[in-house]
Symmetry: D2
Subunit: 213 residues, 4 copies
């Protein structure tokens, strides 16, 4: 899985899709509730520029885009839940991606476009868990997923781990995601990713592998 | 989630179970195919001693034990699969946990005991994916899982991530697992685990939280 | 499973919930798009009266109510889907439970009440498929489900078949559902139901089995 | 969905597979424990002849065959299960498809052939529930399933309902299955099947739709 010569995964617009996880203002915009936590890493990998380059390229190639959104917080989430996690309770306390708030709106550059599919919101970290993502991928004939967005070691990694267990071919893009630390990025792409992903590339490499329009 | 004073999770033999992942000779025995890869970390955390202490204590408390085994390799696995991962192909090449081989037998100290439930083998990293683990946990009324065994950042972590997405209360035990590097252990317990686990303890702490027989 | 003396299932407010499937105007109200198809059977079993009696009784007993809604139709549903079924396409053609329409609103007597949980909409017949129903049942500690609503041999039966495969205890209520023919009701409760349901009762029997408030 | 002119589903060996459910002696052989229950219907539809014709034709066409087996009974199944169903307990009492017994062996005409995939055993009625069937279908690139075997309104119907909810194109074959009564066959193919299946044909029609070798 050398950085310079990835194996050609044979992407095509018929069976390869982009999964764009959590393109919310709270993650990506100045003033977003979580932006301060990911800003350093995001800037270090030129996150916005890469998300835009990939998003534009896959659309130009005629590939299907799936928006994979986290649950938008409401004040009474988790009331009387047996097993809400400390992490969920923490996010709830500050109402991350609050429903009907600016932070829970799409970051303007990455709003869904006509033809995009917005899947059901996920409660935890995996875009597949308790949603219709697997079902809708099948309805579009997709067998390969390229996963970008936030956060590398939480939602991106869980979505990728689930995708692999469901039988999909999984591509991670090292500089089209971010995390709370460089250490977390390293864990996602160099320690854990190789155990389940089929391909781990950077944006420049990915663009060379996309099908022509 | 301080190491010294974990929140009492309210374990009970009625609704808490131990998931023991991949207690195979290939992982745990001298001469096992993967033992050389985990040996340094395993010795550094006194892995065998802690697995034994926990296994003994949960049985003494009358708690249900689930054995969660990885697929036992056969020579023609993955033939003509579309999306076998590089990691799966690598394991197949050396026939890890080979069917009908010593390496694919239970490590003697951790063989299933009468009353234990051996769930279906998993193809990837999660003990829940493509198996009957969730179903059998429900049949036993279990809502909390304590996950031990191998490997901290692959099968243990995927099983734990899936457990949380399925609604279970999840406990990780830092010194009742191992990995290929100290860095991978750190990633599992300090970078990633807090995003999905409900409790991360060490064996000594765990033992104080178990219900009395 | 004699009608006169059902085995006591041991319902309790702690672990038994009501699943109310598709309480939409299009199904239950005069003028609803599907009401003409189920009206004869609905009247023959006193459907509305029984749904009301059960709904009132479970709330009085302090039991959790889950509303399990079908997808609300939008004009471009199923565009370019590989495998939309003839049945889905037929429902789409007349925009059953159309989004933002009266037909897609809750029938007034059965609107969600404070504390009820409205799960994600299902695309097909099973309230569990591609939704968060299993996850939310776990978060409430539920292991037994009583399933009422529409239609006996489609959504109720698929939801019940999935519930059983997921490990839940399943109760069907013969006169708290309806179908397009008496023959379909017979199929649901006398031919198929006994193969997966744990208990099949009528409303009068159910009410005697509910826990006291 | 007229019997004389089914819509051509576009089967191909690349993306269409046969699911052969429960081809056990206990179902199909003289002396099998369940054969007396299905014999009348089986003979009325020439079951064995049609299963053989389809099995031969799909193999000749180079299509993938999946064997989808029910759990083989063991004496202590369901011990201390919370929610074993009356139907499961009844089957257990007579040890249907008993492990290591003749009844739990494949009926000789329908034993797995080289290249067939035998999926994990299912505990209930659906071949997808708690097994690796969805995962293995993906690994073979399958998006359409033709489901034959036993019993029309239990395992065949549940497997078909699950397949549709998972996004597959589903074909039922009316005379390549059987049930305990003609009424149950009618329920499966004329009352319920049209609500989830994409195509319901008889064997003669199916054979005309299969791809050429």
């Amino acid at each position: 899985m050398s950085a310079s010569t990835p194996v050609d995964p044979g992407y095509s617009k018929a069976h390869t899709a982009l999964l764009f996880v959590d393109p919310y203002n709270d993650f990506l915009a100045e003033g977003g509730k979580l932006w301060p936590l990911v800003e350093v890493v995001a800037r270090s990998v030129s996150l916005h520029q890469h998300l835009k380059a990939i998003s534009d390229a896959v659309r130009k190639a005629g590939m299907q885009v799936f928006i994979v959104p986290h649950h938008r917080a409401e004040p009474d989430d988790f009331t009387h839940w047996k097993n809400a996690s400390p992490y969920q309770l923490g996010a709830s306390a500050i109402q991350v991606f609050a429903k009907d708030s600016w932070g829970g709106e799409w970051f303007s550059d990455f709003s869904p476009q006509p033809g995009d599919i917005v899947v059901k919101e996920h409660w935890g970290s995996s875009g597949f868990a308790n949603t219709d993502l697997d079902f809708l991928l099948k309805q579009k004939g997709i067998s390969q997923v390229i996963i970008i967005g936030l956060i590398a070691n939480t939602c991106i990694e869980s979505t990728a781990r689930f995708a692999a267990e469901l039988g999909y071919h999984v591509t991670l893009v090292k500089d089209a995601t971010a995390a709370m630390s460089a250490e977390a990025m390293h864990a996602a792409h160099h320690i854990n990713g190789p155990a389940f992903a089929h391909l781990i590339v950077d944006t420049v490499q990915l663009l060379t592998l996309l099908p022509k329009a």
